[in-house]
Amino acid sequence: MKALILKEFKDYWSNSFGLISVAVLLLLAFLFLWVFPDSNYLSYGLAEGDLYFQFFSYLLLFAVPAYTVGFLANEYRFGTEELLRSLQINWRSALLAKFVAALLVLLMILVLSSTHLYVIYKLNLNSSTIPLAQIIGSYVGLIGVGACYIAISLMVTSFVQQTTASFVISVFVCFMLFSGFNLLSDLPVFEGGLDFWLERLSLSYHADQIGRGILRLSTLVYFTALVIWSIWLASFRLNTKEV
C-alpha cells in the first residue's frame, strides 16, 4: 500500500504541471486574500481564520478535481489499469492509494499556505496568541472538504474516463454538493421545512461551520460518509468493468 501511495504522490510531482498548478494556487490565494479589493483581509477587518478557510474551500472546489481526476484518468490513458490488475492490485486499494496520495497533495498545499494564518493572527490588534484548537478544528474541516472533493472526483472519473470531461463533471458535482443544495434551500417552496435539511446536505454549510471553529458531529459524519460512499461507488463501478 505504501509503495502504491508513494507512486501516486510521486506521479503528481513527476512533471512541472503539478508544480505550476500549486504555484498558481498559492498565487491566487495571495491575490484574493491580500490584494484584490473587497475579498481581502484588510477590507474584512477581522483577524480571524474564517475568511481563509472559506476561500480555500472555494478554491479547492476547482483545484482538487483538476489534479485528482488525473490520478485515475492517466491509468486509462496509459492503459496501466491492466498493469494494476496484473499486479493483483484490487481497485479498492488502488482507489484508496489514490485518495491518500491526493490528500497528501492537499496537505502540502495547506502547509504551504499556512503562512496566511500565521500573518492573520500576528496582525491581531489585541493579542498575539493563536487560538490553536480553533485553527486545528478548522483545518480538520478543510481537509474534510478536500477529502470529499477528492473522493467525488475519483468517483466521477470511474464513470467518465476522458480527463477533461471528468474534470468538468467533477467540478459540477462538487459545486452542486457545495452550493447546489444551499441554493435550493433558498427557494421559497422549501421555506420553513425542507430548507433546513437541504442546507445541511450542502457541503458549504459544513465548510462554513468548521471554518469558523465549530466542529459538529453531523459534519464529521457527513464528510466520512460521503468519502466512503464515493470510494465504494468508484470501486464498485471499476470492479464491474472489463479492461
Partner: protein, 284 residues
Amino acid sequence: MSLIARDITKSYGVQAVLDQVDLSLDKGEIVGLLGRNGAGKSTLLKIIAGINRPDQGELHMGSNTIGYMSERNPLYPHMYVTEYLSWVADMRTITDRESRVAWAVEKVGLDEVKTKKINQLSKGFKQRVGLAATLLSDPDIIILDEPINGLDPIQITQYRTLIKSIATDKIIILSSHLIQEIEALCDRVLLLRDGKIVEDRALQRTGSDQNHTIILELNDLIDITKLESIEGVVTVSSAPDFTYRLEVQSTDDIRTDVFDIVVEQGLKIKEMKMEQSSLQQIFE
C-alpha cells in the same frame, strides 16, 4: 507444474468471445496462440492471467506466479526504467529488490537505457521493459500478448532469442496473428477461431520457417524413392492423378533438384508449385 483450463466461456453482452475452451499446458513449453484479430486471444490470455474472470469454466494452475504482459504493454511513461522496475518489484513484494531489478535489466538487455525515462525509449526497448517487469518475480507462467507487435525485424530476432533463453522450466504462452512468429518461437500452436480452439499441434523446434510443401503434377507415375532421396525432403505422398506432395525441410530451394529427377525419369511436369506450411492452410 502445469496449467489446465476447462470449459472456459466468456461473452461480452450477447457476443460470445470464448466458447468452452479447454487447454492443458506443461512446463517447458512455449505455446503460441494463433488467431485473427478478434478471435478471443487476448481475452483468453487475460483470463489465464487472472485479470478477467470467465463467465464459466475453471482454471487449475500448478503455480500462482504469473507474469503477464498485455498487448499494449502499459508502462508509466514518466518513470525511469529502474524506478519503474523497482516499483513493480515493490508491488510484487520482492524482497531482494535491487538484485532482482539488476538481474532483469541484464537479462533482457536494458543496460544501455536503464538510466533513461520510459517515454524516451524506442518501442523495442519498451517491450523489453515490459518483459523485464514480467520476469521480475521469476514467474512460472509467462503470458505475452502480441509481444512483437510494432517491432522492427532486428528487434524481432533479438526478442525471439530473449524469449527462448528464458523458456526453460517455464510455461510461456504468447499470442500472435502472424504464423511465422509462432512457427519461429513455439513448440506448440493453438489455433483459435470464433472462440474455439480448432487446432492444437506440436511444431518442430528446428526453425519452422524452413518448412514448406512442393506440389507436383506429372504426366505419369514416378518412383517415390527417387523423390525421397532429394536432400531436404521429409515425406512424399501421392495421389491417383499423378499428383505428389513433398514435405520439405530445407532452407535451399529444391525445385531444381526435383526438376532434374523428373527429367531423368523421362517424365514431364504439368505443374509444380511451392506452398507455405500446413499451418498457414489451416489458418486460412
